[in-house]
Structures are given as structure tokens and as C-alpha cells.
């Protein structure tokens, strides 16, 4: 593979970026039309454009990588890029955790009558604050949940699933470093399997919450924060699983060498990030 002394690889002009921009535009415009009950077509077209795009763009990157154009310095750029991308994702989740914290320690106690701003309680007579919020200040426009989602049972199983998957992907990495391709592919397959299992459990949990607990998006602030946090996490798990599948296929094809496997590591980092978010989620959303 390449060494540091050579020139930095600058790709030729490429159509992918502008197609990506168009794809993102189309999809988001589609979402606007969809939430305003006009049509959902545009959104699907945009999604299709984006999937094709990822296939094409990453395909190009993979073939460049396989033909050995990326020097060690390019590799460092990719790593740093991925690192900062994950940092921005961390802040995205911190936002929602921050909201949860703010609502639980500051505004809900006010609504329940505590402190100087507790006089707000005179607008909501009879509301007392408990977390999770089962009884709402004014339930006219909302569905009050019957009960909260406890931390034991499925959520605990899900925690174990994700923690295990973090271990299996590390095991796969060891395989890669030892050039034991079988261990690599096996480890990846297990990780993918666990990711899918997690998503299935999550889907089951949602349906249970909707059908039996009346815990919905419109169940007031508890439902709102619950779905916002677990939903965005689930979305990231989905993306992560797709990336894992790609890496698994690439491993099977014999890509990656012990020294040169940024794509693998990038995805592994992402997966660990998703893992850590879940642990925080488990503690703050399900447990405390």
C-alpha cells in the first residue's frame, strides 16, 4: 500500500455531490408535501435518488480505495472526517437528552406548582408533577398513557443485545487484524444479526406501547420524549445495520487489509456510538 511521501489524491470532477444535493432536496421537499397531506410520491422519489446515490458514490470511493489511490494521509482525512461527523451526531442526541433534563428538572416542576414560577399551577389546577407524566395538565388534545414503559423486560434484553453486538464487532476487528477472514465475516454476520434483532424487538415494543399502554406520540410530554429519543436512536441503528451489511459483504469479497481498512473502522466507530447512546437512553429514558 501507499506510503506518506506521495501526492495527496484529489479526485477528478464528480457528478455525485450535485446529485446528492438534488436527492436531499427532493426528499425533504417530499416530506413537506407529505406532512401537508398533498402527496407522498416526491418523498419516495427522493429516497430512491438517495439510495442510488449512495450506491454510486460509495461504489466509486470503494473502487478508488481498492485500486490503491488512497495514501496514508488520505486515510487520516477520512478518519478525522468520520470522527467529527460522529461528534456532530453526539450533539444531536445531547440536544434531546438536554430537553429531557430541562423538562424534568425545570419546567414540569413549575407546572406542578414548585418554586417562584410554580404560580403557573394556578392555570392547571389539579396537576401534580410525577415522572413519567401520566396525568397531563390538560388532556383535551392528547391521549393520556395508561402506564409508563418499565426498564425491565424488552428494554433490558435490547441493552444486552446491543452490548453483545459491540463485542462481536470488536471480535471481527481482531479477526481482520490477524488476517483471519473467517472470524471477520462471522463476527460481522453476528453483529448484523444482533442489529436486526434489536430492531425487531424495538418494533415489537412500539406496537405494545401503542396497543396496550396508550403510549403514543401524542401522549403528552412523556410520549413525546420517549419516541423522539428511542425513535431517532432506532433510525440510527437502522442506518448502522445497513452499513454493517455493506461491510460484511465487502469482507466476504476480500476487501480490507490489516493496515488499510478505514471503512470497517468508521462503521465500527459508528456502531459503538449508537451503542453508547442506547446505554444513556436506557438509563435516562427507561430507568431513572
Amino acid at each position: 500500500m501507499s506510503t506518506t511521501k506521495e501526492a495527496y489524491y484529489i479526485p477528478d470532477p464528480s457528478p455525485w455531490p450535485i446529485i446528492a444535493a438534488l436527492g436531499i432536496f427532493t426528499m425533504l421537499l417530499g416530506v413537506v408535501l407529505w406532512v401537508n397531506d398533498i402527496t407522498s410520491m416526491v418523498m419516495w422519489v427522493g429516497l430512491l435518488m438517495l439510495s442510488g446515490l449512495f450506491y454510486g458514490w460509495f461504489g466509486a470511493v470503494i473502487s478508488e480505495s481498492q485500486s490503491g489511490k488512497y495514501s496514508a494521509k488520505v486515510d487520516i482525512s477520512f478518519r478525522q472526517g468520520m470522527f467529527w461527523f460522529i461528534a456532530s451526531e453526539v450533539f444531536f442526541f445531547l440536544t434531546f437528552f438536554g430537553c429531557l433534563f430541562y423538562l424534568r428538572t425545570i419546567t414540569l416542576p413549575y407546572l406542578g406548582g414548585e418554586g417562584q414560577l410554580g404560580k403557573s399551577n394556578m392555570l392547571w389546577e389539579g396537576f401534580t408533577y410525577t415522572w413519567p407524566v401520566i396525568q397531563l395538565p390538560d388532556a383535551t388534545n392528547y391521549v393520556e398513557p395508561k402506564e409508563a414503559m418499565g426498564p425491565w423486560g424488552l428494554p433490558l434484553i435490547n441493552t444486552l443485545i446491543l452490548l453483545t453486538s459491540g463485542a462481536t464487532i470488536t471480535w471481527a476487528h481482531w479477526g481482520l487484524q490477524k488476517e483471519n477472514r473467517q472470524q471477520l465475516v462471522k463476527g460481522m454476520a453476528m453483529t448484523v444479526g444482533l442489529g436486526v434483532l434489536f430492531l425487531i424487538c424495538q418494533a415489537y415494543e412500539y406496537s405494545h406501547a401503542y396497543a396496550e399502554l396508550d403510549l403514543q406520540l401524542d401522549s403528552g410530554i412523556y410520549g413525546s420524549t420517549f419516541y423522539m429519543l428511542t425513535g431517532f436512536h432506532g433510525f440510527h441503528v437502522t442506518i448502522g445495520t445497513i452499513m454493517l451489511i455493506v461491510i460484511m459483504l465487502r469482507s466476504m469479497k476480500g476487501h480490507f487489509t490489516p493496515k488499510h481498512h478505514f471503512a470497517f473502522e468508521g462503521v465500527a466507530w459508528y456502531w459503538h456510538f449508537v451503542d453508547v447512546v442506547w446505554v444513556a437512553l436506557y438509563i435516562f429514558v427507561y430507568w431513572l
Binding site: 455531490p17 436531499i24 425533504l28 413537506v32 440536544t95 423538562l103 407546572l111 423522539m228
Partner: protein, 537 residues
């Protein structure tokens, strides 16, 4: 995709000039071309956002409703602000970063060139979406206009129609663009420096952008999260911002300003970096206190992240919280004061000449100090309880935004135009532009301090007779100020099309202190610079 690979591992095509045809721009992976596109995009947005400001000022020329319905007026205010902040100033900053950072640090290009092009092309998409948010209310399916102002506070933003959803996704697209752009800039600075370009040889502009990029990566996700919650409240029945369901409208304000206050330093810092290049050049003397300046920029970035609630003194926070935010905000005068002090000390005992960039730089020190001291007045809570949401605030932030960032970008343009185009700009026209611009700017916004103190609230389409005088002056000034920008556009076009040839080092003092490597290449620079890392003195 790529052509044949030569023995030493890079493309044959790179030794030729730029690619031919429209593809050069659409598919570009060249930092200079992308930088140029950023700069032109932001100039167009400046004119567009400015044209909206002209409509605003025309409506406010006198009491009564003449041109605009109330909703349309506030929709214009919203779009004026979003276009100026996200469409004109931020892209101009990124455009400068694109052009200059690789050349300054001796890199062949940005670290991730294709991503760089994506960051750019997302902007026109966002602009289209933002403009359509203004158009949909004219159609029956569009619902009410986005009359919230750029702060998008719920519950008003929950009432608005489809335009609001378009604004939400505009913010998402802009967020993606800026985050990707920042990732690219950080990676370039950290990874792509020429071997001997050590951290404390970096030009101050590069440092300024490094901090800016960190800020962007940390704050934009928060805004994205906030508007996403807004979208859910609007369409999916959640109750984040509705007390009846246990939420809180103020929560959104915290999220917005957690982004919004650091954002003003995102707008400010690139221009501070530019001043740090220009003033040593024309004072012919190294930048005073280079290292303290860097450390205090870092201090500013950190402090800037933890004082956001000074925009919300009126929401009713506890005494301790309010006191904390007041003191934190007042302390910001330390790092910013140090920057301006260092600039003044750079001028001190220098040997100054007054070309257009320097004229702008000096006027910026004066006018931005003024913005800063009114900022500190606003930071004092009890007084802000009177100033808040009046034209006093509007005056403060236009003094901060226009000298603090827009004029800095103008100065940068004059400073580097010879390098970019290979031609000198017309110095006489440049000076005319400077005086016209700065004088009419002050006529426009100085009186707004007084109308604000006298009690004129912001975001009102119509006002009572007691505020007439100031608004007339302000509107007249604004029209003059607006027209001056046409001269700016003219000077740029004229310079691109020809003029006296610029030498490689157009400014006598350009090499003093910690200059970038841009002065070591020709004017205009070749399409590809520094394919092999240069040596640094």
C-alpha cells in the same frame, strides 16, 4: 471516473488546466472553483436579502400600511434575516476558507474535495426551498405565512402554514451543508498543512476558521434537533412546546439560542481573522500578540457557548440563573476587547497606508466596538428588560453584523481580489465605495438606537407618529446604503474582466508576521497549487 493512474499515484489530468465547460463548476473538486462559487452565491444572496430589507425599510418609511400586509411584512423580516445570516455571511466565510486555507497552509486542496462540492451545492437547494416558503402562502394550500421572525418561536410557528415546514427543512439542509463544510475545514487544517507549517506559524485567519468550524459542529445539531421537534409538534401530535401536554414553549428558545449565540461568533470570527491579516499588512508591522489572540479566540468560543440565555431575559428564569447569564455575557467583553486591543497595538508605531481594505479594517474596529458596548448594555438584565425586542436591539445587531462580519468580508474581497483574479481593483472606486458604504450605513442604523429607546418594538409593520423622524432618516439611509452595494458588485466584475496586472505580492506588507503561503504563488494562482508540499520559512 478517474483517468489512468500514473506511476507515482495521481491523475494525469491534474497537470492540465481546469476542465472545460459547465461541468467544471457543477462537478468541481477544486477548492478555488468551489470557493468562487461560494462567493458568488453569497453576493447574490446579499442582494436578495438586501432587496427584502429595502422593502422593509420602504414600508417603515412612514406610518400606515403602504406596501405590505402585516403577514407579508413579517415573512420578509424572517427571510431577510435567514438569507443574510445563512445565505450571505456564512457562505462568504466558507468561500474565503475554501479559497485561502489550502493556499495559506500549503495544501494541494481541501481534504475531502467531493464532500466540499456537496457542501456548496446544498446551498442553492436550501435557497430555493427558503424562497418557496415565501411563495406558498400565496396559494390556497399554503396556509399562513411564516410571520415569526428568524427565531421561529412556537407557538406562533406552530400556527403558520406550509411555509414553516419549508423553513424547517431549509434549516436542515443548511445545517448539513455547514457541518460537512466544517468537518472539511478542520480536517484540512489538522491534516493537510505543509510539513513545516507548524501550529504557531499558521496565519490568524486559519486559526479563526478552526474555532469557527468547531463551533459550527457543536451548535448546528442543536438547531436541527430544535426544528425537528417543532416539525413533530406541528404534524405528529407531540407536545414539546405545549404546556397542556407538559411541554414548554421556552424550551425551543433555549435550543434556538444555544445555537444562536455561538452563531454570532461564527459570523464574527472569520472577519476577525481577516482583520488579523489586513492590519499587519498595511501597518507594515507583525500582528501584535499573536499567541494571546489565539488563546482568547478559544476562550471566546467556549464562553460564547454558555451565555445563550441573554436573549431570553424576559422569559422568567430564576434569579441565580439570570445572574449567571448576565455575568457570563458581560465577561465576553474581555476576549473581544483583547482582539480589538491587539489590532490597535498593531497599528501603533506602524507605518500605515490607507488602501481600501485598511480603510474598512479601521472603520470596523470603531463601529464594532460600538456594537460591542451596546451589547454589554444589553447584557445587563434590568436594562435589557427595557431594551429587549425594541429597535435598540435591531441597531445593536446590525452594528455587530454589518461591520463585524459583512464589512470584514468586503475588506477580505478587496484584499485578496488581486490574488484571485490577477488584476488590481480600481483603488479610486474602492475608496468611493468605502465612504459611501460606511456613511450611509451609519445613517441607516444609528437612529434606530433612539427609536428603540423611545419605545419602538421590532417586527412591527406599522408604528405610531412619535417614531416618524427616526424611521424616515433610517429608510433614506438604507436606500443609499443599498445602492452602494451595486457599486461593490460593479467593482468586482470590473476587476475580473481586466485591469492593471497584479504582481504575486500585491501588498508591500503582505509578508510581515505570520502571512499565508498564498503570496508565494502567482496571481492568479495556477489551477492546482502545492501538488508537492512547499517549504516554509
Amino acid at each position: 471516473m478517474s483517468s489512468a493512474v500514473t506511476a507515482n499515484g495521481h491523475d494525469e489530468a491534474h497537470h492540465h488546466g481546469p476542465p472545460k465547460g459547465i461541468g467544471r463548476w457543477l462537478f468541481s473538486t477544486n477548492h478555488k472553483d468551489i470557493g468562487t462559487m461560494y462567493l458568488f452565491f453569497s453576493l447574490i444572496m446579499l442582494l436578495l436579502g438586501g432587496a427584502m430589507a429595502m422593502l422593509i425599510r420602504a414600508e417603515l418609511f412612514m406610518p400606515g400600511l403602504q406596501l405590505l400586509e402585516p403577514d407579508l411584512y413579517n415573512n420578509l423580516v424572517t427571510n431577510h434575516a435567514l438569507i443574510m445570516v445563512f445565505g450571505a455571511v456564512m457562505p462568504a466565510g466558507v468561500g474565503l476558507a475554501n479559497w485561502m486555507i489550502p493556499m495559506m497552509i500549503g495544501a494541494p486542496d481541501m481534504a475531502l474535495p467531493r464532500l466540499n462540492n456537496l457542501s456548496f451545492w446544498l446551498l442553492p437547494m436550501a435557497a430555493i426551498m427558503l424562497v418557496s416558503s415565501m411563495i406558498v402562502p400565496f396559494f390556497p394550500f399554503g396556509g399562513g405565512a411564516v410571520n415569526t421572525g428568524w427565531t421561529l418561536y412556537p407557538p406562533l410557528s406552530v400556527q403558520a402554514g406550509m411555509g414553516m415546514d419549508l423553513v424547517i427543512f431549509t434549516v436542515h439542509i443548511l445545517g448539513i451543508s455547514s457541518i460537512l463544510g466544517s468537518i472539511n475545514i478542520i480536517t484540512t487544517i489538522v491534516n493537510m498543512r505543509a510539513p513545516d507549517m507548524t501550529w504557531f506559524k499558521l496565519p490568524i485567519f486559519v486559526w479563526a476558521w478552526l474555532f469557527t468550524a468547531f463551533l459550527l459542529i457543536l451548535i448546528l445539531p442543536v438547531l436541527a434537533g430544535g426544528v425537528t421537534m417543532l416539525l413533530f409538534d406541528r404534524h405528529f401530535g407531540t407536545s414539546f412546546f405545549d404546556a397542556a401536554g407538559g411541554g414548554d414553549p421556552v424550551l425551543f428558545q433555549h435550543l434556538f439560542w444555544f445555537f444562536g449565540h455561538p452563531e454570532v461568533y461564527v459570523l464574527l470570527l472569520p472577519s476577525i481573522g481577516v482583520l488579523g491579516m489586513i492590519i499587519p499588512t498595511f501597518a507594515r508591522k507583525p500582528l501584535f500578540g499573536y499567541k494571546p489572540l489565539i488563546f482568547f479566540m478559544g476562550f471566546l468560543a467556549i464562553l460564547g457557548m454558555v451565555v445563550w440565555a441573554h436573549h431570553q431575559y424576559t422569559i422568567g428564569m430564576s434569579l441565580n440563573t439570570t445572574t449567571y447569564f448576565m455575568i457570563g455575557t458581560i465577561l465576553i467583553s474581555i476576549p473581544v476587547g483583547l482582539m480589538l486591543f491587539n489590532f490597535m497595538c498593531t497599528m501603533w508605531r506602524g507605518s500605515m497606508t490607507f488602501e481600501t481594505p485598511m480603510l474598512f479594517a479601521i472603520s470596523i474596529i470603531l463601529m464594532f466596538s460600538f456594537a460591542g458596548v451596546t451589547g454589554v448594555m444589553l447584557a445587563v438584565v434590568p436594562a435589557d428588560l427595557q431594551y429587549h425586542d425594541t429597535y435598540f436591539v435591531v441597531a445593536h445587531f446590525h452594528y455587530a453584523l454589518i461591520p463585524g462580519s459583512v464589512l470584514g468580508l468586503f475588506a477580505a474581497t478587496f484584499y485578496w481580489l488581486p490574488k484571485w483574479t490577477g488584476n488590481m481593483y480600481d483603488e479610486k472606486l474602492g475608496k468611493i465605495f468605502f465612504w459611501w458604504n460606511v456613511i450611509s450605513f451609519n445613517i441607516t442604523f444609528f437612529p434606530q438606537h433612539f427609536s428603540g429607546l423611545a419605545g419602538m418594538p421590532r417586527r412591527i409593520v406599522d408604528y405610531s407618529g412619535q417614531f416618524v423622524e427616526f424611521n424616515v432618516i433610517s429608510s433614506l439611509g438604507a436606500f443609499m446604503f443599498g445602492v452602494s452595494h451595486l457599486l461593490f458588485a460593479y467593482i468586482i466584475i470590473k476587476t475580473i474582466r481586466g485591469g492593471e496586472k497584479a504582481p504575486d505580492k500585491p501588498w508591500e506588507g503582505g509578508q510581515i508576521g505570520t502571512p499565508g503561503l498564498e503570496w508565494t504563488v502567482s496571481s492568479p494562482p495556477p489551477f492546482h497549487t502545492f501538488e508537492t508540499p512547499p517549504a516554509v520559512k
